[in-house]
């Protein structure tokens, strides 16, 4: 799954982090999938990203070139957007089904 999805996941299971977050990423297999770059979409998703979890996930997957946080005026910084695009949308773990055990 894309790192963007992993970052936005939350869980109702008690004990999985303070707000049911983050879910541990198991680095089974990492693929890089080229995806068409769309700066508007990436810029819109940046505010939703939880950076601590993203950095942790990137660490687990041994990714390089991951920005440490949103920079000022990121909407116009193409280099930053391209890096985020790569990290959030092109890096995919899997293929495996993410099984969500939700407490009933």
């Amino acid at each position: 799954m894309k790192l963007l999805t992993h970052n936005l996941l939350s869980s109702h299971v008690r004990g999985v982090g303070p707000r049911g977050f983050p879910l541990r990423l198991q680095a089974t297999e990492v693929r890089i999938n080229p995806v068409e770059f769309n700066p508007d979409f990436v810029a819109r998703m940046i505010p939703k990203v939880e950076w601590a979890a993203l950095l942790e996930a990137a660490d687990t997957l041994h990714l390089v070139e991951v920005p440490k946080g949103p920079i000022e005026g990121y909407e116009h910084d193409e280099k930053f957007l391209r890096q985020m695009h790569h990290v959030l949308l092109e890096v995919r773990t899997g293929p495996s089904l993410a099984s969500l055990a939700t407490a009933g």
Partner: protein
């Protein structure tokens, strides 16, 4: 799918119905693929997303990813949720662009608030209406689903859920729970007069009410069901003061008024408004 004999929800839970054999149909059967793709297209159309902007969408009951592929083709990013491992396996084989999650929608959508720009669902939510475990209460599961859906959608986003309601009570149950969860909107029925082509789309808005999309009809004429706005004025035949209340003219005028309103009125006869005995 028109199940004339038995509805699949009556036979058991979806994770068992959608086994490997059923999943194969959703991969191989060209008619199945065609129907699902068409419905996905219509649902996306009803979502009225801003033009030319890729969005992050949720696909409830994504199955083998047929609807998801349509979303990818339109340039959107999506996450699919399904309860059947067999269907998701088929989706993995088809190497979908979107991310797949195994889970039960009746227990909520496990995403952070404001994650998605929109949501579609094709032929899935009617499965919430049947209780498969003794502990299930359909209304509660529906409410849990809708309230979590409301939360994971961006403010003002829409959800279009195509479903096959068994009867009007079921549809009412679903819409009631959706309203309780904070959604506004309604049901769009395409081709209401055709048994086979009839499709229900539950269109939900999470922000202030916007317009309801128009349903498709066979003969693209406006049926009398919709009220027409014209600038013709109904001739106001009487000056109210000129007519004595309870007189015959008054009765006839009142009947004519009610006919104009479309109500059922007895025909006018020579006995209409006749003088009755004082004892009446």
């Amino acid at each position: 799918m028109a199940f004339r004999s038995k509805r699949p929800e009556h036979g058991g839970p979806p994770e068992l119905f959608y086994d490997k054999n059923e999943a194969r149909k959703y991969v191989r059967n060209s008619r199945m693929i065609d129907v699902q793709t068409k419905m996905a297209g219509r649902a996306l159309e009803l979502l009225y997303l801003p033009e030319g902007q890729p969005c992050y969408l949720l696909d409830i009951g994504c199955g083998s990813g047929l609807s998801g592929d349509y979303l990818s083709d339109e340039g959107h990013y999506w996450v699919g949720l399904d309860i059947s491992p067999a269907m998701l396996d088929a989706a993995l084989d088809r190497d979908t662009e979107g991310d797949l999650l195994l889970g039960d929608m009746g227990q909520g959508i496990p995403f952070k608030p404001g994650s998605f720009d929109g949501c579609i669902s094709i032929s899935a939510i009617q499965w919430l209406c049947n209780a498969n475990k003794k502990s299930d209460i359909p209304a509660k599961r529906l409410y849990c689903f809708f309230s979590s859906l409301y939360s994971v959608l961006v403010r003002g986003a829409r959800a279009v859920l195509q479903l096959y309601p068994e009867n009007s009570e079921q549809l009412e149950l679903i819409t009631t729970q959706a309203t309780k969860a904070g959604f506004t909107g309604g049901v769009v029925v395409d081709f209401p007069n055709s048994a086979k082509a009839k499709k229900f789309y539950l269109c939900l808005f999470s922000g202030p009410s916007t317009f309801m999309p128009k349903a498709l009809n066979e003969n693209n004429e406006e049926e009398a069901r919709e009220s027409e706005f014209t600038s013709e004025r109904v001739p106001y035949r009487m000056a109210q003061r000129g007519i004595v209340r309870k007189s015959r003219e008054w009765v006839l005028e009142k009947k004519a008024r009610r006919r104009r309103q479309g109500k059922e009125v007895r025909p006018d006869t020579p006995y209409t408004g006749r003088k009755r005995k004082p004892r009446f």
